[in-house]
Amino acid sequence: MKDFRANTMSWGLRDGCVELRLHRAPCNEIGSESLVEFERFIAELETVFGSAHALIIHSELKSGFCAGADLRELFRRSQEVAPDARLTELREFLQRIHRVFNRIDAAPLTTIAAVHGVAFGGGFELALTCDLIIADKMARFCFPELRLGLIPGFGGIPRLKRDVGNAVVRDLLLTGRSFNATKAHGVGLVSQVVAEGEALRVARSTAAQLVKFDRATAIAAKRFIKPIPEEELRQEIEIFCDMFMHPAVEAGLRKFVESEDALPYLP
């Protein structure tokens, strides 16, 4: 795998560990350009299955790990595209995102999300595809989708259910509040909480530990203990698409887009 720098992300192989670095200002919002680059990354990643032992996903931006879907692009497209075509386009986008996230989730590598700052919405969903989340003490996790009249659409609910108890799922989804890293660690979401700015270093140290283990054994263990909730992931896409056509969603997106705050992430 050669080092590659695209517009929204870059990647490379270092000591048997693939590193995916997100760097789309302002906060790695996932839109159509990111999706194309994620798809390219997955194709590259698959060429090192069998030789690399770990994947670390992290952000180069000070603002945080990833603030979620590009809501401005989502709103713009909803205004530009005729209603009947809107749903088709949305479903296709979600299916492509799911294919990428499912590949990361099931990758025959140990995957680590090194999180600082916000991991909101789609950003939280990206972190949840990973086997481990290592968060610095300034990280925050949130599913704010209910504020927009939606549910998470990138696979967040099935993966969250896989990882934590239902009470925690209800708390996050129904209140839309964010958890800090300490809370996330307390409920079992985060593997390690580290000092501010240290998440990537600790992720690399963890990845270095993994190279000691037999890869075939690690891969077999991962397949056994980490089921991919395929049916629920498909259901989530359908529920999301159904909700997206409600007027409240357009109103919520418009409010977000028209906010005076360039990064309006408070409830």
């Binding site: 945080g64 925050r140 800090n180 990064l263 408070l266 409830p267």
Partner: protein, 80 residues
């Protein structure tokens, strides 16, 4: 347990340190968005520092309508 005045002072010191503003420039009734020139992501950053400092959980919906340090201190005080 710290009283409201102590809590407010601790928040002002935290904000001054993190956003590199002289403590003397911050007052309890200042609008922290305007005074510090921060956006909501940075406000969440302040929230995290406050939670870590006071060892509390403060749901972000409790910040609705909160724009000054004194009111933020009242929210924190309710969790101590």
């Amino acid at each position: 347990m710290a009283n409201l005045q102590d809590t407010t002072e601790q928040i002002l010191v935290l904000a001054a340190q993190h956003f590199s503003v002289p403590r003397a420039q911050l007052k309890p009734d200042d609008d922290f968005f305007k005074t510090l020139g921060i956006n909501s992501l940075q406000a969440l950053d302040l929230l995290t520092r406050v939670e870590n400092h006071f060892h509390i959980e403060l749901p972000d919906y409790e910040l609705q309508g909160v724009t000054d340090f004194r009111t933020l201190a009242e929210r924190i005080q309710a969790r101590l």
